[in-house]
């Protein structure tokens, strides 16, 4: 009886400790670093990229943490070590892009790009544990803003948002959209061919470096 009493005492102690921890956890607020797009940037983008059929800007800039999107299906929640904690089937609003601490330029895409609502649900509904969930949420009846570009430096470093940068980008994308598709395709193949030529040139240069100058023959008389 004594052992059982001690055991229950410690069990109660653990329970109280956990309760206390839970209370403490409630004091922790998860704060996402959120930023609103400066009005000046939004206005200049609207001028550069125009408006869509709903009177909204074709282009917008949004901070990664601000950009949430529906994700539905069976989630496997894991701890910091990657170990599975639980599986749950549900619809969540989560950051849409992996780079949450960067500015993203998005372009509006009309609803017809996503097919009809029937096609949308046929393609996106996932079933798990007997529950069906639309993996991308409801049909985008007013279209959707899709990712164009992440503002970051050559090594992925943060680049501050300026109206000039985004306006320039929107104009360049609009300019490129006017080009015939055949030309776009040709440029992709040209790029691949250029990469191959670059490798060849580099390889021959490397080979030349490997051989001694004048093929090893001394060019200054010694002795």
């Amino acid at each position: 009886m004594l052992v059982r009493g001690v055991f229950l005492y410690f069990l109660g102690l653990i329970y109280l400790l956990q309760l206390n921890l839970l209370r403490e956890n409630r004091m922790i607020h998860v704060i996402r670093e959120r930023h609103e797009t400066p009005e000046e940037v939004a206005r200049r983008l609207e001028v550069a990229g125009g408006r869509n059929r709903f009177g909204e800007a074709n282009y917008r800039v949004i901070w990664g943490w601000n950009r949430l999107a529906w994700i539905g299906g069976k989630f496997e929640d894991r701890d910091a070590h990657g170990d599975l904690l639980r599986e749950v089937v549900e619809l969540r609003m989560e950051p849409k892009y992996p780079q949450v601490n960067r500015w993203h330029v998005e372009r509006w895409v009309p609803p017809e790009t996503y097919g009809s609502p029937r096609e949308w649900y046929a393609k996106t509904v996932e079933s798990a544990n007997g529950i069906s969930v639309a993996a991308l949420g409801p049909y985008p009846e007013r279209g959707e803003y899709e990712h164009c570009f992440t503002l970051e430096g050559p090594k992925g470093e943060f680049v501050q948002l300026t109206p000039t940068i985004v306006e320039h980008l929107a104009q360049a994308i609009e300019w490129a959209r006017r080009f015939p598709k055949a030309k776009q395709r040709g440029l992709l193949y040209e790029r691949e061919a250029r990469e191959e030529r670059k490798y060849e040139e580099w390889a021959y240069t490397l080979m030349d470096d490997a051989a001694p100058a004048l093929h090893g023959v001394p060019f200054v008389t010694v002795g």
Partner: protein, 418 residues
């Protein structure tokens, strides 16, 4: 003292450039070498490399009755072992005597010929291995859809993209059981809609639906490099790195989005990326790359929501300014794009290269026998032929320790104009 043979001179020239061979091979511009640099490189012996995998988590979670209730039993983490054995690959290069006679300076001619052939050979060898990475581990480079004399029309997706002119190939029946024989590619057109391969002599019995495989494979169900379609696969039957897929139908299946022969859409991309996020955690996307053929990169550009090749490749004053402002790195919904002319034209693969690696038994080098790297060729008479041969060889296999860390979209339509 014996007279100096030309083979000795060529060998000397090869020795001069020997340390450059790995540099030529490992340049980080094709998927094969990206895997080595970002993944783990494992030196292995001729025995199989073993990859312990945590296939099921341990522990029993649940509520219990604290008022004397039974807390129940526990369980431990379940592990299994995937195994990788290396495949030997070689690339043979011949230099004829004519090359030596083609220029006036004899030593220089040999030196130039050796250097040029090393550079050319390595370029071709890398291209060959990069093509193999696109395959499903059985060495199949393409499927014949129709035959006209010695011209083979090849089925998309691979089309004629995975062969090169001069390559020796073999024809197998569609079940990979009967080897119909060997032939050489004399022409290949991987870009036009026709997708044809011309061979010198078509092996007897070749029919449409037969497949072509690379040289050196033999027997039924040949095994070659375990490429993308081997590791990124949602099959629940067959084997994966010696594990039975049926035993771990969820753990070994890569999330798939079936595009149903429709064009690439942002929804497809989000579905695929979200499948990875749901499996691995919402914020575990940092190491993914979107690997695709140039055709699908073009399809993505056609949606008009990405930085186009027009901007990146010039054609206007703004292009240079943009290059200065930005990385120019093209992305697919924020995932960096890596495109290749060899990749499957109807597929987009999201690869987490941190989970990929190469198990290497022999690093790339010249094939050597008792210190010799150059060997004479003998003519039909038994006398010497006027040429020499040397080889590159390497032995490795590709592995992935987490097939669920990626995703893929397949059966995509090719954009019009192809």
């Amino acid at each position: 003292m014996p007279a100096q043979a030309n083979a000795n001179v060529i060998a000397l020239q090869l020795e001069k450039v020997r340390d450059k061979v790995p540099l030529l091979y490992e340049r980080d511009d094709i998927l094969l070498t990206m895997i080595q640099q970002r993944g783990d490189v494992e030196k292995i012996s001729s025995r199989n490399m073993r990859l312990p995998l945590q296939v099921n988590p341990g522990g029993k979670a649940g509520s219990y009755n604290a008022d004397g209730g039974d807390l129940g039993r526990g369980s431990g983490t379940a592990y299994d072992v995937a195994q990788v054995s290396p495949i030997f690959f070689r690339f043979a290069i011949e230099i004829t005597k004519l090359v030596e006679y083609a220029t006036t300076g004899r030593e220089r001619a040999i030196e130039n010929a050796a250097k040029r052939e090393v550079a050319n050979g390595m370029k071709q060898f890398r291209a060959f291995l990069d093509k193999l990475i696109q395959t499903a581990g059985n060495g199949v480079l393409g499927t014949i859809s129709s035959i006209a004399s010695n011209v083979l029309t090849m089925s998309v997706p691979n089309g004629a993209a995975l062969v090169y002119v001069g390559q020796t190939i073999q024809v197998y029946d569609t079940t990979l059981t009967t080897n119909r024989g060997t032939c050489n590619v004399t022409a290949a057109d991987p870009i036009s809609p026709t997708q044809t391969i011309t061979v010198d002599v078509l092996p007897g019995g070749t029919v449409a639906t037969d497949v072509i495989v690379h040289d050196g494979l033999s027997g039924a169900s040949p095994v070659s490099l375990f490429g993308i379609k081997y590791h990124q696969n949602n099959a629940t039957t067959g084997t994966w790195l010696n594990l039975n897929r049926a035993t771990y139908p969820v753990q070994l299946a890569t999330p798939r989005v079936n595009a149903g022969n429709a064009a690439l859409t942002p929804a497809n991309v989000r579905l695929a990326i979200n499948k990875v996020r749901k499996a691995l955690g919402i914020n575990h996307l940092s190491k993914l790359i979107a690997y695709m053929a140039v055709e699908q990169e073009h399809a993505w550009e056609n949606l008009g929501i990405t930085v186009s090749s027009i901007i990146k490749e010039g054609g206007g004053g703004s292009a240079n300014d943009l290059d200065l402002l930005f990385t120019g790195r093209k992305t697919m919904s924020g995932i960096p794009i890596k495109s290749s002319v060899n990749a499957d034209q109807t597929r987009v693969d999201f690869l987490d290269l941190a989970h990929w690696g190469r198990a290497v038994l022999k690093d790339i080098d010249f094939y050597e026998v008792n210190g010799n790297t150059v060997f004479p060729i003998y003519g039909a008479s038994g006398g010497l032929a006027a040429s020499y041969i040397f080889y590159f060889d390497t032995a490795f296999q590709l592995w992935s320790d987490s097939p669920r860390s990626g995703a893929y979209i397949d059966t995509l339509a090719r954009p019009s104009g192809y």
